[in-house]
Amino acid sequence: MKLIVAIIQPDKLDEVHQALVDNEIFRITVSRVAGHGQQEDPDLYRGQEVAPSLLPKVRLEIGVNDAFVEPTVEAILRGARHGDGTIGDGKIFVMPLEDCIRIRTGERGGSAI
């Protein structure tokens, strides 16, 4: 099992979500975060361009069985890109997941994902 964490642009959440559903990944956890990378996206403040050091991003957290790692990554790549890829499109991190427990039933492991 793996835990996949992806940082994407907020405006792509819908499309990523759709792409995941298309690849049969139905369960995700989402949060608002702020990110610093290469991207610059200034706001305006009284006549001045202000480039915030932290830009709003969305963080996805998805626990998957090993077979689903590639479909998940592929779905995110498909949904999260602006055009052919633009600076700020984000990152995907894949981490080992040792166990997963469904709270409702207490089930463990792959079937609980």
């Binding site: 907020p10 405006d11 975060v33 702020a34 200034p42 706001d43 305006l44 050091s53 932290l54 709003p56």
Partner: protein
């Protein structure tokens, strides 16, 4: 006609103001101002004495109607998604800026000048920049400038209302041009017909105490046409789109209620019994609307929502607007109840039909406005109708006024929408819509909660 009455110079000013350009205007305005400040020294004819009390209430009413603009911004702003909150509020504030100037420059002169172009509109070149009424007092004892400002607030809020119908998907630039044109070509003529002493609907004896047709039906119908023409938001109705801040929506409806006292009771243009009557029914109808909506929801879903209570307040306020000075509290309760029922039904119907009147401008303002303008004939005080007229005749006159308004607004709005969309561009592109109006169009974010430093 128009050409014959104005000098080409002033005409050019009033046309140019439509576009928010302003550079040249500044110079012009300065020149004009200097010229006039001298001429103002000419002695005025004998005037009616000022009634300080009536004037005080009209000044207050003007302030209260102005309060409705931020109130509306909050009401609408709370209902859209986080990424569009500022852009949506800007629609109200931009109306303040654009129509605020336009009205002083030419709007008032067009709306309340004597009939021109066969009565389609009025025109009084002396009132460009409100010049002629600078120090005059109406027979009621209220300085004319107060009336002009009071009316100006109505002109501001009406286009701001429309904006709810196409929230979350228009370009700011196109919106600015659209409301400027709409104000001059739709609002101003309507206002002239209904409220100017030589307007044809006024002469017919149509009752529209505080703007059921002029403000609410016109905004509702124009909004509906705009929603249909511009199409739904991306993802509507499959994607659930949650209000970002219902708390603010509640604050907004509170301010709207307070402001509406000015809107309705101020429309009595005095401070007396009629004013009291208008205020009382406004209060009662709003409460009745809220109570009814609450009960409908409690029956329908076993839960009364805060947006429901807010919508009911609004429905009650809208329905009583045309009727404010002419019905009694019992009638106001009835109208409030009816309005909430009809609006609730209309919104359910909209959901079934699937068009995207985003913040239900037609669903609330159009529906309750029509209901109020027509049904008031059933509840009107005996003395309020033109002498000897039966309720049923009045109902006919009211219906005529409503129908004309609907047709005129629908046709003209469509023409303007097509025009603006094809030239300046009104509908926002898909990428911009995804990114959100706030950052895309205004370079801002409404809430900076995530920015920690």
């Amino acid at each position: 006609m128009l050409a014959a009455r104005t000098s080409p110079a002033t005409q050019r000013i009033s046309t140019r103001m439509v576009l928010p350009a302003g550079g040249l205007l500044l110079v012009l305005a300065a020149v004009v101002a200097l010229a006039w400040s001298d001429s103002a020294a000419t002695p005025l004819p004998v005037q009616p004495p000022v009634d300080t009390g009536a004037t005080a209430w009209m000044l207050v009413s003007t302030a209260l109607v102005l309060l409705m603009v931020p109130g509306l911004a909050m009401f609408y702003g709370g209902l859209v998604r986080t990424k569009n909150v500022l852009g949506t509020m800007m629609h109200s504030f931009a109306a303040m800026a654009i129509i605020g100037v336009l009205w002083a420059v030419a709007g008032f002169a067009l709306a309340f000048g004597p009939n021109t172009l066969g009565g389609w509109i009025g025109w009084d070149p002396g009132n460009v920049f409100l010049h002629k009424i600078d120090a005059t007092v109406s027979p009621g004892g209220v300085p004319d400038l107060v009336f002009a400002m009071f009316q100006g607030k109505f002109a501001i809020i009406t286009p701001a209302l429309i904006a709810g119908a196409f929230a979350e998907r228009v370009r700011f630039r196109g919106y600015a041009v659209f409301i400027a044109l709409w104000s001059l070509l739709v609002y101003v003529p309507l206002c002239h017909w209904v409220w100017a002493s030589d307007g044809w609907l006024f002469r017919l004896g149509a009752i529209d105490f505080a703007g059921g047709t002029v403000v609410h039906i016109s905004a509702g119908v124009s909004g509906l046409v705009a929603a249909l023409y511009l199409g739904a938001r991306r993802g509507y109705p499959q994607t659930a789109m949650h209000p970002n801040n219902l708390v603010m929506t509640l604050m907004g409806v509170g301010l709207l209620w307070v402001g509406w006292f000015g809107f309705n009771a101020g429309s009595s243009l005095t401070s007396g019994v009629k004013t009291a009557q208008a205020l009382a029914v406004t209060q009662v109808a709003a409460a009745a609307g809220a109570l009814a909506w609450m009960c409908i929801e409690a029956v329908h879903h076993r839960k009364a929502t805060s947006l429901g209570i807010a919508s009911g307040i609004l429905a009650g306020l809208v329905v009583i607007t045309p009727a404010a000075g002419v019905v009694q509290p019992a009638g106001a309760v009835a109208l409030g109840f009816v309005a909430s029922g009809l609006c609730y039904g209309m919104i359910l119907l909209k959901n079934r039909l699937g068009y995207d009147d985003t913040l239900d401008v037609f669903g609330v303002h159009g529906t309750a406005g029509i209901a109020g303008a027509v049904l008031l004939a059933l509840f009107v005080r005996a003395g309020e109708m033109p002498e000897g007229r039966a309720a049923i005749t009045q109902l006919g006159v009211q219906s005529l006024g409503v129908l004309t308004t609907i047709v005129y607004c629908a046709v003209m709005s469509l023409v303007l929408l097509v025009l603006v969309n094809r030239t300046v561009g009104l509908r926002l592109g898909s990428a911009g819509e995804m990114a959100g109006m706030d950052h895309e169009l205004h370079g801002e974010h409404g809430y900076g909660l995530l920015n920690l430093n």
